[in-house]
Symmetry: C2
Subunit: 252 residues, 2 copies
């Protein structure tokens, strides 16, 4: 029997600009007796990646456009925050119920273009998503290999609301070393029937699994190891595979 473990990485210091995030994670994992191993999947919440990359915006230094001010008035929100959301967006998909659902520069569709206020130090600071989350994941993966010698898949996660279900879950915005979708369309079921539509978003499921230990804001656990999941390895992948091509998207 093959048990999968979800291991929180505790005592990672508060991450700040230019920190060697991969090193600090490796060290913390080792210190708690669960050093990273070949075949592990490391899930990291995007906020510490943005902090390490210095991708933090001080709202006092943002000059809101007229459109941002219009929205802010209508929605009773901070115009500078709306301006940052607009700068991170390439289109707006829905507005309503006080929410702005937009398409980020990367193509992800989410509230506020993924711009986050929580777990960012400084009253007026917000964190946009990493500029290129796949590249961030690849860099962290390479650095882990350097430090530990281990081949570890890296996924950068974010918390997204859903169009058709209430409540947020964690999903993948950057991947390295792992195929984000498991294509099972040619597999057969228990009774020999060929599966017709099974493309499992395993990278998203792994992020949701990791959230079960990461999602403790007050404890500050920014990363988790998933050990024992036999994933499909690939060096040439992107979390963009999890984005619907426009012509296939029935709800956008």
């Amino acid at each position: 029997m093959h048990i999968i473990k979800i291991i929180p990485i505790l005592d990672i210091p508060i991450i700040k600009e230019n920190d060697d995030l991969a090193y600090l994670i490796c060290k913390a994992a080792e210190k708690q007796g669960t050093p990273l191993q070949n075949g592990d999947i490391l899930v990291i919440t995007h906020i510490v990646v943005s902090r390490a990359e210095g991708n933090i915006v001080n709202l006092d230094e943002v000059k809101p456009s007229e459109f941002a001010r219009n929205i802010a008035t209508e929605y009773n929100r901070d115009p500078a925050l709306i301006e940052v959301v607009l700068r991170e967006s390439k289109s707006i998909v829905r507005m309503g119920e006080g929410h702005i659902i937009s398409e980020t520069r990367h193509g992800f569709i989410c509230a506020n273009a993924g711009v986050d206020k929580s777990n960012v130090p400084g009253e007026r600071n917000v964190a946009p998503l990493p500029k290129d989350p796949d590249e961030s994941a690849r860099r962290i993966r390479r650095r882990i290999k350097e430090i530990t010698g281990s081949d570890v898949a890296v996924i950068i996660s974010d918390t997204h609301g859903r169009a058709l279900r209430r409540g947020e879950i964690n999903i993948a915005i950057g991947v390295a070393g792992i195929k984000p979708i498991r294509d099972r369309r040619k597999e057969r079921d228990l009774f020999g029937y060929t599966l017709k539509i099974k493309q499992t978003a395993v990278a998203d499921e792994l992020c949701s699994a990791a959230e079960l230990v990461i999602g403790q804001a007050d404890e500050g656990i920014p990363a988790a190891i998933i050990r024992g999941y036999p994933y499909e390895r690939s060096e040439n992948t992107s979390a963009r595979e999890l984005i619907w091509p426009k012509e296939k998207a029935l709800f956008i």
Copy 2:
């Protein structure tokens, strides 16, 4: 450090009508050395629940309506299957790209009203979702308590596509003994900032975590134990909490 384990339950026999599903699961879990314990979460794929409840439809016995035949012609699908999908639906939300996305009698929005062909024995048999998945979960939970004396949360899962992301993930359609949403709106983050919009769909995340061991169609693993996750207990819950109220749904 608090590690969460995802434990597949192997060697559950092929489930058929009137089987005592809870008993067969308990027995298989015990036999493999991981008997169900207080605080465990048991995730069961809906298909075996439908099979045990005899909720299987033989397409040869279905007389398609004219509307079902119209759709079947347009989509090049089996008219009897379309008829079953329509019978399970209370509205159609989108049609396109060969997909019918409908609102099930329970209120879930998904492809084909959740009617499943895979893992159903018999060339012409399909399995609709259980009639009342919360009640199914409660019944299984009570039976597990009778058999083992343990207080186990039960979640019945299904595989859903998503409106805004490619690939399917597992989500919850029935719950017992666990709050499906963790409301974190009054919690504070690492830096003392009060979280504004954090209602985590933990039941869905637990199903996605379980899918990492369940999703092996050829091995036939219909259930998994999640051990070590400190969930909010409740006797008065429903997976319907995971459905958007119509007036809040921006994408429907």
